[in-house]
Symmetry: D2
Subunit: 347 residues, 4 copies
C-alpha cells in the first residue's frame, strides 16, 4: 500500500490556500498535516473559510511555530518576497511546491527589475524547476523545488509554446489580450477590488507593466530559442474565477490555421487536462470553472497571415492550486490526475 | 466486489441533468448508461454542455428509443406533467429517482389545483416515497419510486420539521422568506431570466402562488400532525446557484432560541450533509456552492416569543441532483456520501 | 430670477457624496461651492471618482479648511459620530441636510445604546427634523437641520406608516425581511465587501442587531402612537444598488388586501416619487435603479388575516442622496423634483 | 420660442427603444408622439418596461397603424433587414435616425455578403449619412437619413480614425480586441444570453465573423484612404452595459505614444462627450455607464513601434440611443448635448 504524502500549506489563508484544501480534501494520497497563516494564527480554518467547515483540518499556526519533521512536502502560498527566505530555512528532505512568483524568473536581474529588490535566495533559484506540468514534466518529476507558473503565463504558454517550438508561428508581434476574474487579485483588502468597484463594469489594468510579462517572455523566448517581446494586456472582468487569453499571432510562411490547430492537438492528445477544441467551438471560462482543465481554440484572422489562439483556465485551479497539486503528484510519482478529477461547475 | 449500478438520466439537457452528470462522474459505484433529451436527440452531451466534454458519455437519445433492459435506476428530470406517463411505462425492476414535482403531493386534489390537471398516474403516487433524505431515510431505503423534494421545500423542511416534530415552535404565523439563484428557473428560454433582466437587481416572484407552497404545507403539517398555512415568498437573486430561506417562527411556551438550536443540532449531529451553526455564525449560500451541504443557523428576534431560523443549500445539488444521488445511494445500499464528497466551491 | 443655492458637501468621497454630485450636476438651482474629504484633501474629485471627470468641481479640502461664509446649505455625509461635532461648529445661517445617523433617533438613550457613546450635540438633536420627505413635508420645509432617514427605514416607512396611521394593520408581529445591494456598505475597505466575497452568493447580516432597527421602531411606533417591536432582518445581495423590503403584516379586523392597497394609493396619489403598483405588478429594484422613485406593491398572504407589503428604492438615491436633495428643495422652497428628474437606468 | 420636435420611435420594445425613452424624458426640445412595437401593440410602454412607469407616454401600436403626419423625426430601432422597407414608405418630410445596420455599409455587395440578402432600398442607401457625430458632424447636420454606427464601430472609430487621418499609425496589423456587456445582444430571447449562461464567466464570440467588421474596415479605410483589413474579436462580459475596445496599433515612423495621445487630445479638445485621458489614467466601462461619454487612453506597448489605444462607451448610449439623440440634435439645429446631460451612474 502506498504511503500517504504528508503535506503542509504555508500561507493557507489566501484563496489559493483555500482552493488547495478544497481539492486535497478529495485526494486519497495526501494528508494535510500543517497549515500556517500568520495573521490568523490560532484560529480554525473554518473560521477563516466557513465553506471548509465540514473538514477535519489542523488549526492555523504561525510558520515560525511549524514542526517540519513529519512533512514530505509544503505548498507555499506566501506573498512574493517573503517566500524566498522561508523556503531557504526548510529541511532538505521537504519538497517544495511554490505558488509565489519568487522562483519563476531565471535571470536575477529580471527579478530585481520587476520585483524591486535583489533575490534573497539565488542558490535556490538555480535548482528551481518551472512548473508548467504539461511542458516540463520530466524536470518536475525529479525536482525538489518547483516554481508554479503564474495564472496568465499558464494559459498563455499552453497556447503558444508548442506553436513556437514547432516554429509554425513567428516570434514578432505577439499580442496577448488577457481577461481575468477578480480572485486573481487575492483576498487582500483593497478599494479596487470591492464589489461595487468591480461589478457591472470592466477595465484594463497594469497595461504593459504586469509582472507576468517577463515570465511569459522568458518561456516563449525559450520555446523560440531567442529573446522576444510580448504584448501582454490584462483586463479585470466581473466574475470570481476564470481567465481567458486571446493571443494574436503571425503564422510562419506556409502554415495556416489548420496547421496551428493540429500542432496543438497533436501535442496535447494524451494530456488529461488540456483539450484542443474542434473548429467552430469556442473556449469559455465557465466551461473550466473549478476544474484543472485548459481549453484551447484556434481561429482564422481577417488579416492575412495572422491567426488567433484562445486559451482558458480557472485561474485558481490550473492557474494555481490545481497545477500545484498536479506538480506534487509528479514529484511523488502519484497518478497525475489524483485529487483533480472534479468536473467543471456549470452554471 | 460491488456491482456497478447502471443508471439512466431522462431529461438530461436541463441544468439538473448536467449537474447529475457532473456529480456522478466522481461516483465510483455508478455508471451512466443512457441519457435522453428529446429536443437534442442525436447529439453528444458535450455539444449541449461543453463543460462536460472531458467525459466519456453516451449520446443523447429520445426517451422513446431507450432500451431499459440494462438499467438499474433512472433519474428522471423531465418537465412536470410528462413525467407521470413516462414513469408509468418503465419496467418494474428499474428504480426511479424522480426530480420533477409529479409525485411530491400526496393529495391528488392538491396536485390538480396547483398543476392545473388531474394526476395521470395516481397508482404510482401511492407508492412514491418523499425523498428528503435526512428526514425519510428508512422509507427511501426500501422504495422503488422516490419523489425528490423541490429545492425550496428541501431547505425549509430541514430547518422546520425537527422543530415542529419536537413542538418547540408553533404551527401558526409561519413565514418563509426565500431567496434563490437563477438556475432554479432552469435552462428554458424566457425573457424573465435573460441576463440583462436579472443582473444588478432583485425582485419577489409568484408571491403566495408558488407551487412549492402546498409541498411545504404538506410536510410541515405532517410534522405538526395538523394542517397548516405557511407564508412562502420567493425572491430571485442575481446569482447562478444558491438558495436561502429565512423562516420567521413563533416559539412554543417555555422554549427559547437556544432550545431551537440544540433541537436542530441534536437532530442532525450524525448527518454528513447538514450542519447546524454555532451562535453568531451566519449561513451564506456561497459556503455550500456546488456541494450537497445544508447549513442552518438560529437567531433571536426582537419580537418577544419569536425566532428566526435560516437555512441555505445549493439549489442544484442538495436541492436537486445531489439529493437525488443521495437517495439513490440509500435505495441501493451504497454509502450515502458516495459521489457527494466535493467540497463547496468558494469563491 | 431665483438665486442659486450655494451648497457644500462634507464627506464627499463616499458613494453618497459621489451620487450627490451626479444628481446635483443636473440641478439648475444649486451650485456646488465646496467639497471636503479629509483623507483625499488636495485632490480633484475626478481622481477619486473618474466618472465625474466631465464636471467642473471644486477640489477636495479638509473640513477644517472650509470657508462657510458663502454657503447656504451643507450636505453632510460624514461617518456616524463625527457628524455631531462638526455640525455643531457651523454658522447658524447654513442649513444642514445630514445623511448620517447622528440625528435620526429622538431618544438619546436609544442613540447611546445602539451607537456605543453618549450623543455629543443633544441640543441640535432637539431641533433636528426627521427627513422622510413624503411623510414629514411641512416640518422639513421649515427646518434648519434635517436628519435624512436610513435607506432601510425609508423603504420600510413609506410602506408601513400610512397603514399604521390609518390603523388598517396591527402593531404586533411586524416582520421586515430586507435585501440590499452592496453600496449600502459604503466605500470603506473591508474583506466582507470584496467582490469575491459577495458575488455569486447572498447572506443575512446583523440579524436582529442592525442599527436601522431602532429607527424603524421609533417611526412605526409614532405612526401607531404606541411602542412597537419590529423584526428587521437585512440580507446582502450581489448587486451595486437597490433595496427591497418584504414586510409581513397582520391586518386589522375588517380590512383586506384591497384596503391596504387603496390606503397607500390614496396617500401617495399626488406624490411624484412614490408609486403604488396595481394588483399583480411586482416591485423590482431594477425598476428604480439610479432614480428617486419608490415602488410599493401589496399582496395576499396564504395565512388568513395577514398581508405582504413590498417596497423598493435605490438605496443611494431615495435611500440617501436623492432624498437629501428632495429635502433641500423643500427647505429652500424649490420645486421638489428639481435635480431628480432622471428616469431609472434599466437594464 | 423654439418649436418642440415631434418624434416617433419605431421598434420601441427593444433595449434601444427603452433607452431612447429614458433619455428623451429629460430632453426639453422633443416630445414622444408615437411608439411602435408590433409584438406588443396595444400595450402601454410601462407594461413592457415598468421602469418607465412614471412617464406619460403614448401606447404601443403597430407600425402599419402609425400616422406620420404630425411627426418631424423617427428613431428607427427595428431589426436589420425590415428597416429598409419601412423607411422607404415614410413621407419625405420625416427625418430618420436609423439605429439598425441597414444603411451603414456603403457598398451593397458588402451588405449582401454580411447580411445574406440584397439591399432593399439602395436609393436610400445613397442619401444615408454615417452618423458618428464627432467625425461626421456637417453631413449629419444636413441629412434627412442618418445611419447611426454600431456600438463597436463607435468606440473603435473614435479611437482610431483621427490617428489614421493624421497618419500617425499604420494601416496594417490593426487588431481590435473588444469586450461588451450583454445588452448588446438585445432583448431577444436566446439560450446564449440567459443569466446562468453568462454570469460568472466570459468568452469570445463571432470571432472574425462579426457584422461590425466590415463597418469598421469601411470607415478606418476611409480614414487611411486605402482598403484595410482589421482584426475584430468581440468578447461577452457578464455586465449589462459597457463596451471597451483594446486596439493594438503600429505607429508610423517617427511617432510615439505621446504623439498619438496628443493627436487624439487635439482632435477632441472641444468635444463635450469625448475625453482623452492623461497618461496613467485607465478607461473603465463603469465610468461612462448610462452616459453619452467616450473615454480614450493611449498606452505604451512592450513591443517597439507599437502602441495600445483603449476606448470605452456605454453601448446603449453613445453606442446607440444617446448618439441617435446627439444626431437628432444636429439634424434639427438643437444644442448637441440636449437630453444627454446625465452623468454616469457609478457604482
Amino acid at each position: 500500500m502506498r504511503d500517504i504524502v504528508r503535506a503542509g500549506i504555508l500561507g493557507a489563508s489566501g484563496y489559493t490556500g483555500a482552493d488547495l484544501v478544497r481539492l486535497l480534501a478529495t485526494h486519497t494520497g495526501v494528508s494535510i498535516n500543517l497549515m500556517t497563516a500568520n495573521s490568523h494564527a490560532g484560529k480554525p480554518m473554518a473560521e477563516v473559510y466557513p465553506h471548509l467547515g465540514g473538514l477535519n483540518l489542523p488549526d492555523l499556526i504561525k510558520w515560525e511555530d511549524a514542526d517540519w519533521s513529519d512533512l514530505d512536502v509544503v505548498f507555499c502560498g506566501l506573498p512574493h518576497g517573503t517566500t524566498q527566505e522561508i523556503i531557504a530555512t526548510l529541511p532538505d528532505k521537504v519538497k517544495v511546491v511554490d505558488l509565489s512568483a519568487d522562483f519563476r524568473l531565471r535571470n536575477p536581474d529580471t527579478y530585481a527589475e520587476w520585483y524591486g529588490h535583489e533575490h534573497r535566495a539565488p542558490h535556490l533559484q538555480k535548482e528551481a524547476v518551472y512548473g508548467l506540468s504539461e511542458l516540463n514534466r520530466e524536470p518536475i518529476h525529479k525536482a525538489r523545488l518547483v516554481a508554479c507558473p503564474g495564472c496568465y503565463p499558464t494559459a498563455t504558454l499552453l497556447a503558444l509554446v508548442p506553436l513556437a517550438q514547432k516554429q509554425v508561428i513567428l516570434p514578432d508581434d505577439l499580442i496577448v489580450d488577457a481577461k481575468s476574474g477578480v480572485t486573481g487579485a487575492g483576498r487582500a483588502v483593497k478599494e479596487a477590488t470591492l464589489f461595487s468597484e468591480v461589478a457591472e463594469g470592466m477595465h484594463p489594468y497594469s497595461v504593459s507593466r504586469h509582472r507576468h510579462s517577463p515570465e511569459i517572455e522568458q518561456e516563449v523566448g525559450n520555446a523560440f530559442r531567442q529573446e522576444v517581446n510580448v504584448n501582454f494586456t490584462p483586463h479585470l472582468v466581473p466574475m470570481n474565477r476564470g481567465e481567458l487569453v486571446t493571443c494574436y499571432v503571425k503564422m510562419a510562411q506556409g502554415t495556416d490555421v489548420a496547421t496551428l490547430r493540429s500542432t496543438l492537438a497533436e501535442r496535447y492528445k494524451d494530456e488529461p487536462f488540456v483539450r484542443v477544441l474542434p473548429e467552430g467551438a469556442t473556449p469559455a471560462t465557465r466551461h473550466v470553472r473549478g476544474s484543472n482543465f485548459c481549453l484551447i481554440g484556434v481561429f482564422a484572422d481577417r488579416i492575412p497571415g495572422r491567426a488567433i489562439v484562445i486559451a482558458t483556465i480557472d485561474n485558481l485551479v490550473k492557474g494555481s492550486s490545481g497545477q500545484a497539486i498536479q506538480n506534487m503528484n509528479l514529484m511523488f510519482g502519484l497518478p497525475e490526475t489524483m485529487g483533480l478529477e472534479q468536473q467543471p461547475l456549470f452554471p
